[in-house]
Symmetry: C2
Subunit: 95 residues, 2 copies
């Protein structure tokens, strides 16, 4: 199984779209784990999605496992060096 | 040593205040680890602070270690049940 199969990238869509996406990966797609990824200002939203999916919708079957942060650096169109933080939250089906 | 001694709570002060606070805990206070905590919309800012402190200011001496998320539930003044996500990022001095 491709390790990128169950990845959800958080952006500007409505909050519940992402929660539903995570829940459905576990329920109808039978995923063992789902990774929620986000950058910059969407990091808070990604944490909320992970917490709501794991604790309200999938309580006692899924937990928030390892969480990684990192930085990406790139030049913007004015040529300035920009740094943006990233997060990856791994949700795991309890064994 | 009190385990809460080196904790920084992120709120609405300027970004660099917190980065400086983290860096000074490691440099002038000789901390072995510093925990950055935040709630709700300040979670993205807390991740940025951890990344900038560890990678730009303390490069090669400090790393972002374990990261924990959680939820707090409480009633607001209108009596509605509110849920807010929290994060704790542990920065560790490399051995």
């Amino acid at each position: 199984m491709d390790e990128n199969e169950h990845v959800i990238f958080v952006g500007s869509k409505p909050f519940m779209n992402y929660v539903t996406g995570v829940v459905m990966q576990f329920t109808t797609q039978n995923a063992e784990n789902v990774t929620i990824k986000a950058r910059g200002k969407f990091i808070s939203k990604a944490v909320d999605i992970a917490e709501v999916a794991a604790k309200r919708f999938l309580d006692n079957t899924v937990l928030v496992g390892s969480i990684q942060t990192d930085s990406e650096e790139f030049k913007n169109k004015e040529g300035r060096q920009i740094r943006v933080s990233t997060i990856a939250l791994a949700l795991l089906k309890k064994q």
